[in-house]
């Protein structure tokens, strides 16, 4: 029954998406200021659709929670012996479930904007909801026609096949939902951009409406990527935190586009410039989300040929992709000419710096896109090439380094026009820090160029982030400005972590007999014992390793090598010792024939700063949303207060005047 309710809710939601699309589109046909009688259904349809999609998702979670083995998806991906938390998170640890989550978030964002957004003209709002409904419809069709999560088995399974052990981790509770919410939150930016383009309402009001959505999606993406990176770091057992893997790139590309978009939207809101840019980036950001979904969900990454053999799902998403992205860019090409570019500004102005960085972000996006798709293209022609870090790092640094340099001084410039001479002291200061740090570090050792540059840039950016506060009264600085300062500082912190990990990591692989010791960095480690341990659905061998820094008090680390029995698979659970200046990373490997154990140890100085930086960036985004929304509320309150006062005055004016 549960599964049938979910399926019915999904079909109803799809039907409402049609209603939302038609009703929203009819708003476009009504004359200015007049409401089309059929256009009033768009908002309720969007809200109802969000509730139904939410219900469908809740039903699937329920089926997983009670391990309903008559549902095919549950039988294939869950197991009655799994801990409850992984039963729940396992709902989206598979293709159908994660697509349902995707669609659920899409419907939820459509519902939220329909419910709360009252500032836009009704025609623009109608067009926006129509586009949102159109996008949702395609993905409902995808779910219902090719990936039905509620399919029943003719005969219920006796036991489920279990969830991949690597996914049986708390990371699965955070990473996919936040990442998906970010991906799909960008759909609102897309719909708003198309709505504004169709009704030629690209102006600061529109930008102020769009901004919290872009910021919100961007915060979630930032958090999702940060969480995913840390998860991969501790779960995969080799200490890597970013692999330039196609699936990672699929999440990085929307983030790059969203970063460019949120800066562009800020310019549009504050200065009424960069109108077409903002629209284009809005379309691009969600296009990258959909492309990412295609890459991850179509199976094209496992092998282009496997995709060609069983192309149903992939081809479906590909058609949707062509329809939405192609359609959006066609409308953009037809309409962009009608949207004036907006206010002008000079090169040395804050807008100028933002344009420069938007172009750089787009260029990095192009590099990542090229490096990700190129191997797929050649594979289709039976030529296999690999594109990895040795390509991505320098190619993206080529654009990232100028971007960081401009980012350091951009916030110091004034809007519209400024003279570079006004900020020469700051520029000089930052140049001294940059060159000083690079000089100092290279004096103490031989390091690769990119980590070296990264360290210098991180130091300069860290100082530069706070320069906009110089000479201002800190208690009077707007919350949104604090958000910017924090996010930019987060970039510096993250960059410092990456460069430091790249430059200073120390590795020790050793075969150690119980009782034996070895050394990594400042740490001495002793393998005390290796014992078998058992968990709810796994058995493991666990090493007790005592580590002490410079002969200090030893701390016990217990890395495990786990064997899960359903599905039968082994994973290594690394043990981490976190200190303020880095992390010690320990893994236990196999036992050699002579009875010694393989131990892998890394000392990674300041590696944690990578993720602290990510969190700071996300926090900066949150502050920015709070600040913007507060200012908007104040403004709205002031406007309504003014209206009331005017109405009062009018009422007074028409009041009977006492004679003589």
């Amino acid at each position: 029954m549960i599964a049938e309710i979910g399926l019915a809710a999904l079909w109803l939601a799809a039907a409402l998406a049609v209603l939302q699309m038609v009703s929203g589109a009819l708003a476009l046909r009504s004359a200015e200021g007049e409401a089309n009688p059929l256009a009033i259904y768009a908002r309720p349809a969007a809200v109802m659709q969000a509730l139904l999609a939410g219900l469908a998702f809740a039903m699937l979670v329920w089926a997983f929670a009670v391990t309903d083995l008559s549902v095919k998806l549950v039988a294939a991906n869950s197991h009655s012996m799994k801990p409850m938390i992984y039963k729940l998170t396992g709902t989206w640890g598979n293709h159908e479930g994660s697509m349902l989550l995707w669609v659920g978030v899409l419907a939820l964002s459509g519902g939220l904007i329909a419910l709360f957004e009252r500032r836009l003209p009704e025609r623009t709002m109608g067009a926006t909801l129509a586009v949102q409904g159109f996008v949702a419809l395609g993905f409902y069709a995808f779910l219902l026609l090719s990936s039905n999560p509620f399919e029943r088995l003719p005969v219920p399974a006796i036991e489920g096949s279990g969830l991949n052990p690597l996914l049986q981790d708390i990371g699965l509770a955070f990473h996919p939902p936040t990442l998906y919410a970010g991906y799909v939150g960008l759909s609102v930016a897309f719909s708003l951009a198309m709505g504004a383009l169709l009704t030629r309402e690209v102006n600061p009001t529109f930008a102020r409406v769009m901004r919290p959505w872009v910021l919100g999606a961007w915060v979630l993406l930032t958090f999702g990527i940060t969480a995913g990176s840390y998860w991969a770091y501790y779960e995969l057992g080799w200490g890597g935190w970013w692999f330039w893997d196609p699936v990672e790139n699929a999440s990085l590309m929307p983030w790059l586009a969203a970063t460019a978009l949120l800066h562009s939207v800020a310019v549009l809101a504050a200065r009424d410039a960069l109108r077409t840019w903002t629209i284009m980036l809005g379309v691009l950001a969600f296009s990258m989300s959909m492309l990412g979904t295609f890459l991850v969900r179509s199976g094209v990454l496992t092998s282009v040929h496997a995709f060609a053999v069983d192309p149903e799902r992939g081809a479906f998403i590909l058609v949707l992709l062509g329809l939405y992205i192609g359609g959006a860019f066609t409308i953009f090409a037809l309409r962009a000419g009608a949207v004036a570019e907006g206010k002008r500004f000079s090169f040395s102005s804050r807008e100028g710096a933002l344009v420069f960085n938007n172009v750089m972000l787009s260029a990095i996006l192009a590099i990542v896109l090229l490096g990700t798709l190129y191997p797929l293209v050649t594979e289709a022609f039976d030529v296999r090439v690999s594109v990895g870090p040795p390509y991505f790092n320098p190619a993206s640094a080529m654009f990232a380094i100028p971007m960081f340099l401009v980012m350091a001084v951009g916030p110091l410039l004034r809007w519209k026009e400024d003279s570079p001479r006004r900020i020469r002291f700051e520029v000089l200061l930052l140049a001294v820090i940059l060159i000083g740090v690079i000089g100092l570090v290279s004096f103490f050792g031989q390091f690769a160029l990119l980590p070296l540059l990264g360290l210098g840039l991180a130091a300069a950016l860290g100082v530069a982030a706070f320069l906009p506060l110089r000479g201002r009264k800190l208690t009077r600085v707007p919350v949104a400005t604090w958000g910017m300062v924090l996010a930019h500082f987060g970039i510096a912190v993250s960059l410092f972590g990456m460069a430091s990990e790249g430059a200073f990591t120390q590795e020790r692989l050793a075969a150690v007999a119980p009782g034996g010791s070895d050394q990594v960095g400042d740490y001495t480690f002793t393998l005390q014992s290796v014992n078998p341990v058992a968990g709810p659905n796994w058995t493991a061998i666990e090493a007790r390793i005592a580590v002490s820094r410079d002969g200090g008090t030893p701390v016990i680390l217990t890395p495990q090598a786990r064997n899960f029995w359903s599905p039968a698979q082994s994973t290594s659970e690394s043990a981490l010792l976190t200190r303020w200046d880095g992390q010690l990373y320990a893994v236990i490997g196999n036992q050699a024939a002579d009875g010694r154990w393989q131990i892998r140890m890394w000392w990674k100085p300041f590696v944690t700063f990578i993720w602290y930086g990510g969190l700071l960036i996300a926090l900066g985004g949150v502050l920015s949303i709070i600040g913007r929304v507060r200012v908007d509320m104040k403004r709205r309150k002031a406007v309504s207060l003014g209206d009331e006062r005017r109405a009062d005055l009018e009422a007074l004016g028409t009041a009977p005047v006492p004679a003589e």
Binding site: N164, L166, L167, D169, G171, H175, P176, G228, W231, A232, E235, L236, G237, W238, G240, F243, D245, P246, V247, E248, S251, V296, L301, T302, F345, S346, F347, G352, V355, V359, A363, A366, I367, L370, G371, Y374, T378, V383, R384, V385, S386, V387, G388, P389, P390, Y391, M398, F399, E507, R508, L509, A510, A511, A568, S570, G589, N590, A593, Q598, R600
Partner: protein, 142 residues
């Protein structure tokens, strides 16, 4: 989830192998070279070689037996005095371009280098058009 899912797929591929793989790993699969300079050289090279049995992992990031064998090859060849370039060439001759994460300019990879070069030109053109002309306009106006 991203990486983890992939590793899962990789593990699925590697699973039947590891089940049959009763041979102990090669000596240098999990042991470092004694000379830190040589080891650093080997590590740098290993990070740029693809583990052929895995999905998007370098041989320095993988527990697959084949990655272990390849690490052994890299370390023992570095120890024997071969240069990283020679080892890479040897592996490419054996397994094809696919094994190397460092693409080189060839008939099948030239767009990987031509497009970024073109991109620099486009970026320069866009910036000049958007920012350069404005400056000229501002100059005219003043």
């Amino acid at each position: 989830m991203i990486r983890v899912l992939l590793a899962f797929l990789a593990a699925l591929i590697a699973l039947p192998l590891s089940a049959q793989d009763t041979m102990p790993p090669a000596p240098y699969a999990y042991n470092q070279l004694d000379d830190p300079a040589l080891e650093a050289k080997a590590t740098a090279l290993m990070h740029t070689l693809r583990c052929l049995k895995c999905q998007s992992q370098s041989i320095a990031d993988s527990d697959a037996p084949m990655a272990g064998d390849m690490r052994h090859q890299v370390r023992s060849r570095i120890l024997a005095g071969e240069s990283p370039a020679q080892i890479r060439a040897w592996l490419v001759a054996r397994y094809g371009d696919y094994v190397s994460y460092t693409p080189t300019v060839s008939a099948s990879t030239w767009p990987l280098f031509a497009i970024p070069a073109l991109l620099i030109l486009i970026v320069a053109a866009v910036l000049l058009r958007r920012l350069g002309r404005r400056r000229a306009d501002a100059g005219d106006a003043s």
